[in-house]
Symmetry: none
Subunit: 85 residues, 2 copies
């Protein structure tokens, strides 16, 4: 996993590409429920993007119900198995 996975010229926005990669990590079991996902700073480092882009990706994951965020602590993988949506 590196910045090489990100294509800035692709039709899909960068933040969505990052979100898709994190979702893949969740669904593959690499990221576990109630455990932290990489911090914004880590995503910045790992994908070579601006912090706002990393935040946008996490915000998207939160909107989609994949993660929940605890201020000043981090974002955690949500339990979607028992969720109605």
């Amino acid at each position: 996993m590196a910045a090489s996975e990100i294509d800035h010229d692709a039709p899909t926005p960068v933040y969505r590409q990052i979100a898709a990669l994190i979702i893949a990590d969740i669904e593959s079991g690499l990221l576990v429920v109630n455990r932290k996902i990489p911090s914004e700073a880590a995503l910045v480092q790992r994908f070579g993007v601006a912090r706002e882009t990393a935040r946008h990706a996490v915000g998207y994951l939160r909107e989609e119900g994949y993660v929940f965020t605890v201020p000043q602590r981090g974002s955690y993988v949500a339990d979607r198995s028992a969720k109605s949506k």
Copy 2:
């Protein structure tokens, strides 16, 4: 490639001339599927035309199925090989 390729006195509308040149770039492989075509601003600069003319050219390419446009991102070369039309 420059403004010299455009003939304002020709029977063919300028936007169609520009579209033809972009189609030529697509068919020659210079522009690749799912990759961005030059932005409107770039076309304005390159062909020495008004922005609306550049937009008209892109709109024509879109109608003809040569490109698809993603709002706020850009226009991309479409994959016509597997298309029914």
